[in-house]
Amino acid sequence: MARYFTDEHEWIDLEGELATVGITDYAQEQLGDIVFVELPDVGTVLDKGGDAAVVESVKAASDVYAPIGGEVMETNDALEEDPALVNSSPEEDGWFFKLTVADRDELEGLMDAKAYKSFCDSL
C-alpha cells in the first residue's frame, strides 16, 4: 500500500484500483475542532482538482479537492455521527471517501511522506 500526499494537505492510500482519501494531521491541526464533514455521494465522478468534500469548523468551511479523478465508491459514514474523528484520527479512522483511480498518471507529482513532512516544515 502506497501513501501519497498533496500540497492541499490531503493523503491518498492506494490499494489496488481503489484510493482512500482524507486530510492530514497538519490540516486538522490548522482547522481546529471539526464540526461537520460534507462528503460526496457514492457514484459521483470526480475530476482531479474538483470540489470533493467540505470540512467545517465553527467559523470556517474549507473545500477538499479531489487529489485524483475517479468514481466515489464508498464514504466514511462514521464522520456523520462523529466528525471529531477527523481531529482524533485524521489519517486512519477519519478517512473521507474511497474512489476508483481513473488515471494512474494523475499520481505523478504527488509527495511521499518524507517530502510532505519537509513541505509542512517549510510552511
Binding site: V35, F36, E38, E56, S57, V58, K59, A60, A61
Partner: protein
C-alpha cells in the same frame, strides 16, 4: 441637535488630539470637487421633536386605520388583537436596541428568546427545526424553493394556482436569475382546491410542489395527498401558511407530510404596519435537511462553567463565511418581530391559541352564512378557516373602493391581486378575526345588499 452629545469644545479638543486643524482635514480623501460645501439645498433644516411629530401625525391622519372601520382584509396580512404587554416588552431597550447576538455571553436574552421562538414555530408547523426567522413569508417561500433545489438537485418547480400571487411573483422573479423553471397556473374559482390537477403536474424532474394552506381563496387543501404524490416522484412538498392562527384549529403541515413549511408570522404579535416589517417563518420536517436551510439558527450549548447557554450556530452555511457558496445571501433575520411573535404566543399558550382559532373560525362561519343571505352574493368555499371568497356578480375592485368611500374596508378583491387574469373580477376575499364584531358583519351585509340591489 438633541441626538449629538459632542460640544464645540469637545470637537476642538478632539481635533487637537488627532492632530487635525479642522474637520475638513478628516475628509481630505474625498475628492474636492465632490465635497459638498454646506447642507444640501432643497431639504429642510433640523426640527424640534414637537414639529416632527406634528408633521408625521398629519400624514398618519390621511390614512384610514383598520380600527376605525369595519375591516375585512386578509390575503396574507391579518388583523388580530395584540396584548399590550407585547409592545411593552419589544420596547424594552435591551431588546429593541440590541444588535445581532454576535457575542453570546452578553446576548443570552435575545438568544434564549430565539431558541424559544424556534421551538414554538417548529411545533406549530409540526416540524423538527425552525430557523430564527426570515424577512417575510414571500421571501421565505422563495428561500424554500431554492433550498428544495439544493436538496433534490432538480430545477423544475410546481406552484399551486392558489398560492398567494405576490409570493408566486417573488418566486418567479428570483427564479429568472437562478434559471429554475417555474410552472404556475391561474387560480380556478372552485369550491374545493384542485388537488388532482396539481398532482398531475408533478413529474420526475420536479424539485418541489408549493401549496398554500389555507390557500389564497381561503380553502383548506388536503396536504397529505399532495405530499404522497410528491414523494413518489422524489419531489419535496413546500407548504406555505400566511395565517398562523389557523394552525390552532387545523393539522400542522408537517404532520401531513410537508417537507419544508414556510409562512408569514405577522398575524401573531406583529400587526399590520402597511406590509412590513413582517416575520418570515421557515421550518423543516426532517432534521437531516438542517444544513441546507437558509438563515440564522440558534442552538443550545454550555459555557465554561457548565451552565446552559445559547449561541448562533451552523453559521458555516451563511454568507459571512461561505461568501459566494452560501445557502443564501440573507444576512439578518427579523429579530424584533420574532420577539413579538414569541411573547404573544407565550401569552396565548396552547389553550389560548386554540381558543383564538376556534373563535376566529366560528365568527367566519357566521359571517359567511350571513353574507350568503345577501341577494347577489355567493360564498364560493366549501372549506375555510377565517377567510373565504365571495362572488358578487360585478366588479369587486370597484365595489371595494365604493365601500371604502363609505368607511367600510370590505376585503381584498381578486382583481387587485390578479390584475392580468380574466374571470376573477367579481370575486372578493373576506377575512374575519376576533377583532370583527357582529355589528361589523351586519354593516358589511347591509352595504353589500345595497350595492348589489
Amino acid at each position: 441637535m438633541r441626538y449629538l452629545p459632542l460640544t464645540d469644545t469637545d470637537r476642538t479638543d478632539m481635533l487637537a488630539t488627532i492632530g487635525a486643524s479642522s474637520i475638513d482635514d478628516l475628509f481630505v480623501d474625498v475628492p474636492e470637487e465632490a465635497r459638498l460645501d454646506g447642507p444640501i439645498h432643497g431639504l429642510p433644516l433640523h426640527a424640534s421633536e414637537m414639529a416632527v411629530e406634528k408633521h408625521m401625525r398629519r400624514l398618519s391622519k390621511k390614512n384610514l386605520a383598520a380600527a376605525d372601520a369595519p375591516f375585512f382584509l386578509g390575503a396574507g396580512a391579518y388583523r388580530h388583537h395584540v396584548p399590550a404587554s407585547v409592545d411593552h416588552i419589544i420596547q424594552r431597550g435591551e431588546f429593541l436596541t440590541a444588535y445581532t447576538p454576535y457575542q453570546p455571553e452578553i446576548a443570552q436574552g435575545t438568544l434564549q428568546m430565539l431558541f424559544e421562538f424556534q421551538t414554538q414555530v417548529a411545533r406549530l408547523y409540526g416540524c423538527a427545526v425552525a430557523n430564527a426567522s426570515m424577512y417575510d413569508g414571500s421571501t421565505a417561500c422563495w428561500e424554500a424553493v431554492a433550498m428544495a433545489g439544493r436538496v433534490t438537485r432538480r430545477k423544475r418547480v410546481v406552484l399551486s394556482g392558489a398560492l398567494h400571487p405576490h409570493y408566486a411573483e417573488v418566486v418567479r422573479t428570483m427564479a429568472r436569475f437562478t434559471e429554475d423553471e417555474i410552472a404556475g397556473a391561474p387560480p380556478a374559482l372552485q369550491p374545493r382546491p384542485d388537488n388532482a390537477g396539481l398532482i398531475a403536474r408533478i413529474d420526475e424532474q420536479t424539485s418541489c410542489v408549493v401549496v398554500q394552506y389555507p390557500d389564497i381563496l381561503g380553502r383548506i387543501p388536503d396536504l397529505a395527498e399532495i405530499a404522497e404524490a410528491a414523494h413518489e416522484k422524489g419531489a419535496l412538498l413546500i407548504a406555505v401558511n400566511t395565517e398562523p392562527v389557523a394552525l390552532g384549529a387545523i393539522k400542522s403541515p408537517g404532520e401531513l407530510g410537508a417537507d419544508i413549511v414556510v409562512g408569514e408570522g405577522q398575524a401573531i404579535g406583529v400587526g399590520l404596519q402597511f406590509g412590513g416589517p413582517y416575520l418570515g417563518l421557515f421550518a423543516v420536517r426532517d432534521p437531516k435537511h438542517v444544513r441546507q436551510m437558509p438563515g440564522r439558527l440558534c442552538g443550545e450549548t454550555q459555557d465554561a462553567e457548565g451552565k446552559r447557554g445559547f449561541v448562533l450556530t451552523l453559521s458555516t452555511r451563511e454568507q459571512h463565511i461561505r461568501r459566494e457558496k452560501a445557502t443564501s445571501n440573507i444576512c439578518t433575520n427579523s429579530g424584533l418581530c420574532a420577539l413579538a411573535f414569541n411573547v404573544h404566543m407565550t401569552l396565548l399558550g396552547e389553550k389560548g391559541l386554540r381558543r383564538l382559532a376556534a373563535w376566529n373560525h366560528d365568527l367566519a362561519c357566521k359571517a359567511a352564512d350571513r353574507l350568503a343571505q345577501v341577494p347577489g352574493v355567493e360564498v364560493l368555499n366549501e372549506s375555510f378557516f377565517n377567510e373565504f371568497t365571495i362572488r358578487i356578480g360585478r366588479n369587486a375592485r370597484k365595489l371595494v373602493r365604493d365601500l371604502a368611500g363609505k368607511g367600510i374596508l370590505a376585503g381584498v378583491s381578486l382583481g387587485r391581486l390578479y390584475p392580468d387574469s380574466d374571470g376573477l373580477d367579481d370575486a372578493l376575499l373576506v377575512a374575519v378575526t376576533e377583532t370583527t364584531t357582529g355589528e361589523d358583519i351586519e354593516t358589511l351585509a347591509a352595504a353589500l345588499g345595497e350595492a348589489l340591489s
